[in-house]
Symmetry: C2
Subunit: 305 residues, 2 copies
């Protein structure tokens, strides 16, 4: 799957992933109204609204980008119907040949991580039948529990030809509280980065490992160090745009081959129609606004090469 | 909710929580057969089987214990139908006046943690209606992202009178890989423990904070230190029984008042009927075996006082 991701990034010339992180307040009025007419002002109605909203964005952008990254929390907040909308979104994006990075940030003791890995990347047997579940292509994982919390995910990735992005240095303001603390003179995130590189050695694609890392765009100096520590790990970079990361700051996350990083934008793309810059499209044409925002983002990022 | 937890622990004289972590292989044949007859060998059939299995265990133990802790990964591995079984299990346990600790180990940047907090502990507005979602009483949370990943959970806990258990030192063998690393001469888990105590000051019940900690039974020496660092935090202690933690080792997790800790057992209770010690009950009476295992566990733990 990492080979497919690299291939699609080259084809689209877009090291970009669109974060499908819908809040109900983002969904244009006309979509909400239609969904509520059909399902009432219910969780099912909300789930239908965010699904239709996502579908519009996917339809308007799938030819420009290699991947989407739905953030499962935004679906979980609508309970079981929300999670059904997550599943529909994953399935539809894959139908459009997009790679799906499930931003699930799971992680637990071994037996529990194995269950999460099954749910998000694997298959389960029920009697004589075998079922895929959420079936993302990549999942994000939290490293706090160490190797035995990660290994079950790696095992399923090997079986299913899938991949991971493991949290190393997150984009949020207080990420340094624990991640930046010095251990034998080096910050925790470097130690985690070294482990990611080690876990990744065991599961290599052609040029890059199936086991990647998450490093926030908001900390370019740290991105530079981590790029060197994990030369074969793809870096998923959140925090561009709405969170404050700039294109110029993204340089250190890429290798000399112009590869090695994929930059996420969520609100900047999916809420483009609410931005003054794209307001001319209007809420009815929110998906066209998202398309233009993707084009502009790709241009912005490619300007650094 | 922490006051209710303390009250129920005193009433039952049982600082014990039953982990409802069903694998399909744990579910006795007769329950599987019935569920598959009704729903086929499908995800819905599997979800029905684990729900009926849970219901049997809850019915057989609810009068003995203060709380249950369903591990959401075990439900997520059956996709959307599995999560519907999780919700049914939470609702049913609450009907039986059990406190429900959702073992979800979520945690992300602020806006995303807010969505998780809504989904697991809060309410959401859809048009003119307001809905509860999974609606657990407590949730477990991962601290790797620092304060701004925790605060949205604390905020929802204040609104909804609910609580958290934050991972400090986990029970798994490789938990030390990052958690034990020394920072200014003290292990990371102590720094996390200090933050848990600080986060908890802001949301106190009568004697204990709404913000508790997870510390594995498998590391009693560390439990002793953490007990002192977080005197007002309830400690959720996994790892007793199947993972190797002993009753004698649990002493340091409790305060002098005999309170301050609640010990989880999952496989040891829910799979008791597969254990030689309880085999006489037979698979048909698996719930009676679980009841006896709970009685024995309570006696074992109370022997340390």
């Amino acid at each position: 799957m990492i080979n497919k991701l690299v291939k699609k990034i080259k084809e689209t010339n877009a090291p970009v992933v669109v974060g499908l992180d819908p809040m109900l307040g983002y969904v244009p009025e006309h979509i909400q109204t239609k969904a509520f007419e059909e399902y009432g002002e219910t969780l099912e109605g909300a789930a239908e609204a965010i699904w239709q909203y996502n579908k519009g964005i996917i339809d308007a952008t799938y030819d420009l980008i290699p991947a989407v990254k739905p953030q499962i929390a935004m679906y979980e907040q609508f309970g079981v119907p929300g999670l059904a909308a997550f599943q529909k979104t994953v399935n539809y994006a894959k139908q459009k040949d997009l790679i799906v990075i499930g931003d699930v940030k799971r992680g637990d003791i071994g037996s529990t991580s194995a269950a999460y890995a099954t749910g998000h990347l694997g298959k389960i047997r029920v009697g004589n039948n075998t079922y895929s579940l959420f079936d993302e292509d990549f999942a994000t994982v939290n490293p706090y529990l160490g190797t035995d919390g990660i290994k079950p995910f790696v095992d399923v990735c090997k079986e299913e030809n899938k991949g991971l992005f493991i949290l190393v240095k997150t984009s949020n303001p207080s990420s340094g509280e624990f991640q930046d603390r010095l251990i034998d003179g080096r910050p925790l995130y470097e130690w985690v980065g070294e482990q990611v590189a080690k876990w990744g050695e065991d599961h290599m694609g052609d040029d890059y490992s199936y086991i990647g890392a998450v490093v926030g765009a908001t900390y370019p100096e740290m991105g530079k160090v981590l790029r060197k520590i994990m030369p074969k790990s793809y870096i998923l970079v959140p925090g561009y745009g709405a969170q404050g990361g700039t294109a110029e700051g993204l340089k250190p996350y890429f290798n000399a081959d112009g590869l090695g990083a994929i930059v996420n934008s969520s609100r900047g793309i999916i809420c483009a129609y609410k931005d003054d810059k794209y307001a001319k499209f209007g809420a009815e044409n929110y998906a066209d606004a998202s398309r233009q925002a993707v084009i502009d983002m790709i241009e912005d990022i490619n300007s650094i090469f």
